[in-house]
């Protein structure tokens, strides 16, 4: 098993990537960590005539704070770097997600940008970034644009990016004080994709009211989903137990799982509701400064 023939170009800088995209965008593919595209090429499900290797482009590798207190994560940031980074407590879900993606070999190569651009229905970064209300900065030879992450995911394995567009970085907006986050993933075995997963960001005011909440779901639709109905139920509430149960039911109704080797539709619906409720509870405890473990189930 090996890929079909292609011409290989290695870009050393962002302008070089854009130049290569201008010349080869329509027949080419970007090579980031290769952990999705190389398997696809070996199976001949993809046979690009040109491969544009962006692995040496330093501009794409930084994690940096921005002026407003948000974060910018370069597209080429490896899962491994997300795993070992010391995140502020409010972003604990980044660590929850990073450490259970594939295995160490996959995490050493796979990138955040590659995973988002791949739109694997069971991928981990999609639900996480949805819950955070992240935005994506894309560049092409024609210019630059920033879009909400919700718009990136068009269909399974399909983004809204044009052929000559590069996902440059992910912007995580600043989180207000009292924010807690958590990500829970159920997997069949170590290293596997999620059966289902849930990411929660929640912010509680000192008087106990839910000021804001973001809920992302993985493995239960063609693309990572945002549970807007459940978000609306909880936002502004006092997060009473009864209401949380109602939100859990809403999560189950809002998702659209498909039956596959990882489980039936009913099973995934059941699981994703429970994962959401537990992730919310962990996020709330973390918001109060507690150290709580999350990750896989």
């Amino acid at each position: 098993m090996f890929p079909a023939r292609f011409n290989y170009y290695r870009a050393e800088s962002l302008p070089e990537v854009l130049d290569l995209l201008a010349r080869h965008g329509s027949e080419g593919k970007i090579l980031a960590g290769g952990q999705s595209v190389i398997p696809l090429m070996k199976l001949r499900l993809a046979s690009p005539a040109v491969l544009i290797d962006i692995n040496r482009v330093r501009e794409l590798q930084a994690i940096a704070g921005d002026e407003r207190g948000g974060l910018r994560i370069g597209a080429l940031t490896r899962h491994h770097h997300m795993e070992i980074k010391k995140w502020p407590r409010s972003l604990a879900l980044l660590m929850d997600a990073a450490r259970d993606i594939g295995d160490p070999q996959v995490r050493n190569l796979g990138t955040v940008g590659g995973a988002l651009a791949e739109v694997d229905p069971a991928g981990d970064w999609g639900p996480v970034m949805l819950s955070l209300g992240a935005r994506v900065r894309a560049v092409s030879p024609k210019g630059e644009r920033t879009l909400p992450i919700d718009e990136l995911f068009v269909d399974a394995f399909t983004t809204c990016l044009a052929e000559d567009e590069l996902l440059r970085e992910v912007e995580i907006p600043p989180l207000s004080d009292g924010t807690g986050t958590a990500y829970l993933k159920m997997e069949r075995k170590a290293g596997d994709f999620a059966i289902a997963s849930a990411a929660v960001r929640v912010n509680r005011s000192p008087d106990g009211r839910c000021q804001d909440v973001g809920i992302g779901l993985g493995g239960v639709g063609l693309v990572p989903l945002r549970a807007r109905g459940a978000e609306d139920l909880l936002r502004g509430s006092n997060l009473e137990e009864e209401l949380i149960r109602e939100a859990e039911e809403s999560v189950r109704k809002e998702c659209e799982p498909l039956a596959d080797i990882r489980g039936s539709v009913e099973f995934k619906r059941q699981v994703v509701g429970v994962l959401f409720r537990r992730a919310l509870k962990i996020a709330l405890r973390r918001a109060q400064g507690e150290e709580v473990e999350a990750g896989h189930v």
């Binding site: 098993m1 292609f6 011409n7 290769g34 594939g102 070999q105």
Partner: protein, 163 residues
């Protein structure tokens, strides 16, 4: 399309000047062009870890990595751990603890252990299991493998304090 391109590949400290097809996987170059058969051709889809080698000290699956990506990077295979014809303490520990049964997963595990101990000379059992979670051993020698890594860690630590 260019059938072959020149590449300079550093494997186990030795530089090789090769002409390879850009679509050739690192695993195939190591085995078929350089005769380094430590990395195994097994699941060939990044699931089993038998083809694991180190790139700049980090374990990767060489079945999901193009040779051409490795230009100017340091590649280490299980063969590279041998010094003066003598097995590395990690390799010795694997043999002595019965962590080698059929042996097919061993070269991958050995280099992954090298990467782990270079980063964390004194890992806990949990840390070992997490670090080696990308390797399948179909003989099921996981207990012995974990013990071998602990023994290798002790051995290396003793060497360092000169016992």
């Amino acid at each position: 399309m260019k059938q072959r391109v020149p590449i300079s590949l550093t494997v186990n400290g030795e530089i090789h000047e090769l002409f390879i097809p850009p679509w050739q996987l690192l695993l195939d170059t190591l085995r078929d062009e350089l005769g380094l058969t430590g990395a195994k051709r097994c699941c060939i889809e990044g699931q089993c870890g038998a083809c694991t080698v180190l790139i700049d000290g980090k374990p990767i699956n060489s079945c999901l990595y193009l040779t051409i990506e490795a230009q100017n990077q340091e590649i280490v295979t299980a063969e590279g751990l041998v010094e003066d014809g003598k097995p590395h303490p990690i390799q010795k520990a694997f043999v002595e603890r019965g962590a080698v049964q059929c042996g097919f997963c061993t070269p991958g595990l050995v280099v992954a252990t090298k990467a782990l101990l270079d980063q964390n000379p004194n890992p806990t059992e949990d840390e070992i299991r997490i670090a080696l979670s990308g390797h399948l051993c179909r003989c099921g020698a996981y207990v012995q493998i974990t013990e071998a890594v602990m023994a290798a860690a002790r051995e290396t630590a003793q060497k360092e304090v000169g016992v």
